[in-house]
Each structure stands twice: as C-alpha cells, then as structure tokens.
Symmetry: C2
Subunit: 208 residues, 2 copies
DNA sequence: TGTACATCAGTGAACGCGCGTTCACTGATGTAC
DNA sequence: TGTACATCAGTGAACGCGCGTTCACTGATGTAC
C-alpha cells in the first residue's frame, strides 16, 4: 500500500501521516517549536493545507504524535545502551547517560517536541505511558547499581533516576544547544560524564 | 517624572518601558513564550500597538530586555543567598542551590524569558555580561568549597558550577513546571537538595 | 516670569501576511457479489 | 473476472483573525532666552 505509481503525482499520498511527522521534525529542528506551522508542514509534504486534518485533530495533535514517537525511540535507545546491565551495572548505567545525550543531539527534532514544545504528558495517557517507559529504563539501571550495597544504604532508585534525568536534561538545554562552545568551556559529553561520575561516587557505588 | 496627573489618562504614559516589561512578564507566565505578543503587551499597558516601538526595536528586543533584567535579579538573589560564604562555605553553597530554585518558582516570567524564550546570549554582549555575573556566583561558591581540600584534589570550579547549574535547571524544567506532582513523586526542593547533597559527597566536601 | 520652539512619546489607521480551520467537493481504492 | 458502490484521502477556495510593523500625525514636556 506504500507503492504509489512512481513518476506521477498521485492523488493519494500513500503515507502522509508519517510524511507530516517527518516534516514536523525538520521544521522544529530548524526553527524551534514556535517556527513550526501546520501549513508549512503540509507544504513540505507536498499536500494542501487541509490534508493534515485527515490524520490529525490539529496542530497540537501532530506535535504530540511526534513527541510520542520520540519517547518510543528514546526508550529504545536507552534500553539498547543499558543492555540489561551488561557487562557491569556501572558501565551500563554510564552508557545510558551517554545515550541520553546522544539522543538529544542526533535527534533534536524529537527531543524538542518531547521537552520544549509545550505538549504536556499529564492528561495524555498515550504520552504518559511512553514517557514512563523511558523513565523506567533509568530507574532500572539505578536499581541494579545498588545490588552490592547493604539495604540500609540504598537510596530510592526513582530518586536517583530523577537526579540523572535532571542533570542530563540540564546539560542538553544549557550546553548542547546553539553554537559549539556557546555557553561552556566544556563539551556536553565531558560535562555529563564527569557530573554523573561525581554523583555516583557520592552514592558510594564508585570507590574513590 | 513618574507623577502623571492622577485620575485622567495622560497622553504620556510616564513609565511605559517598564510597564511593557511587566506586561511581558505576566503574559509569558500565563501563556508561555509562544503566547506572548507585542500587541497584547501594549494593550495590557493601555497603549496603542505602535507605542512599544518608541522603546524597543521590536518583539525580540523586548523579550531580551526582560531576560536582561531577569539575569540581574537572578544574580542578586544568588549573591544574597551566598552571603559571601557565611556561615560556612558548605551551607552557603546549598543556600545558593535553594535560591536558584526559588527564583525559578517565584519569578517564572523572568526565568522563562531567560531560558525558554529562545533569546540567545551569544552575540548579545549585554545579555552575555549579566549571564556571566550570575554564573560567577555559582563558580565562586564552588571555589570556596575546596578551601580545605589538598590542591591536587580540587576539581575545576567552573566545572562544578556547570554541573550544579545543569542539575538545577533540569529540576526546574522537568519537575517544577505544570501541575504539582506532575512528573515526579518528589518535590523539586527535595530533589534538588538531595541531588546536590549526593554530588557534594562525591566531591569529597561532605564527609559520609 | 513668559514665550517660542525643539524634542519626546504617544495616537490611530492602515498594510500585507500567513495561519488554523472548515467546507463541499472529487478522484482513487477496496470490497461484495 | 467484472461491475456497482461505499469509503477513504485528498483538493482548493474561502473565512476570520490577530499579528508585527510603518506612517504621518499630534499633544505634552523641557529648555533657551
């Protein structure tokens, strides 16, 4: 059903929904969430401005779909990096941190739709679910880290995952945007890696 | 010069520039940076849509001014909290962290203009200066923390301040926005305080 | 103290623009028999 | 295999809207003499 007659414009696009998602990604990337308009996404997909309404309730709904797909990819990428805690819980955890940053940098369109577009995951069950799935990877990775700690010394894993998420997000927003070297004398990678390292030492899971 | 004849609308506003800044703050707070329009700010200040152009080059310029004032207030608030490192470097540092969060929560309009409006401090010397001033407080507070550490163990203070900034910003963006309890089972205050605590322990400036 | 005049800080009308959305429509596709 | 028909996924024109910005203007204020 994806095969339109090649070489002549088909009346039916064939895959408009996804084409709109991709147009949204590239527009958001270029001009920020403000710069994105439904009309332009339609234009970029080679379709009239009314066409998107066959697939989305409106502008907001399209952005939300982009965010939803983004969360899924995000969770997958984190899961892959986590690799079920192999080879060691610690290296796996650190790999997740790097994957976070990598996602934000290589897929800025998704990242922006997810975190900077103003879509709220509260009150949108679909979004909420995929967001939790991504979060769960971080929490799981944290949990594993504490295996060897005496129970009394284990911090709540969700707290740790929130800390890591906050620091990663902060690094992305403040230091991984705009011109290289914009705000910081350190690369985002260095910054996140060293930050997580110090934090983990404070947690007692890295010996000094 | 601030005294207009009371009780009758004056042809000259008297303090329009600041009134526009305040209108911008409240609009940005309510509707986000996207929802802000020059026209509405003018309306809210009780003035024609052309009037703002006597004081600002345009929409962007007004937002930049709001951000600029925000950075100054921000730096002042951090400085006050820092209190020259009294009573101890550690408590002073922690107070700065709390002040960061407090600023973001009690002055969301400024915070949003500074960090979420898309104004870039790069290439705007005025903004750059005040941003650095705020940053310097964090760096100074970090530096003090290491007084008692042997030189070889001292991490670069700017790195530390960047870490703290990132974590604070992350907490604000992810957990201090939207409905209470939106994304996290912890309050932003708890989250930031515990996060910084663990980090400082990792730095070796808090004994376990 | 009064007056002439320059400057400042507003007005209000107008512009062109592009957006989001709706509508009745139509061409293409899929399906039942 | 062919045909009738329902449904799907587009079109294109139109709408009302509010925005940012410009313009010639004017009323208020400040200053030199």
């Amino acid at each position: 059903m994806n095969n339109q007659p090649r070489g002549r414009k088909a009346y039916h696009h064939g895959n408009l929904k996804q084409a709109l998602v991709e147009a949204t990604l590239s527009l958001i990337q270029e001009k920020g969430p403000t710069g994105f308009t439904l009309a332009e996404a339609a234009r970029q997909a080679g379709v009239s401005p009314a066409a998107p309404y066959r697939h989305f309730k409106g502008r907001e709904d399209l952005i939300a779909e982009v965010a939803r797909q983004g969360y899924i990819l995000f969770a997958e990428q984190l899961e892959t990096a986590y690799n079920r805690g192999k080879p060691t819980p610690l290296t796996a955890f650190e790999a997740v941190g790097r994957a976070y940053l990598d996602f934000a940098r290589t897929r800025p369109g998704y990242y922006i739709a997810m975190f900077e577009s103003g879509v709220s995951t509260v009150g949108n069950p679909d979004l909420n679910m995929v967001e939790n799935r991504a979060m769960a990877v971080l929490t799981q990775a944290a949990e594993n880290l504490f295996e060897h700690l005496p129970k009394s010394q284990r911090p709540p894993a969700t707290m740790v995952s929130h800390h890591i998420w906050a620091m990663s997000h902060g690094v992305v927003e403040l230091f991984a945007r705009g011109e290289p070297g914009g705000r910081a004398p350190f690369s985002p990678e260095e910054l996140l890696e060293s930050g997580i390292g110090i934090y983990l030492r404070g947690l007692g899971v890295i010996p000094e």
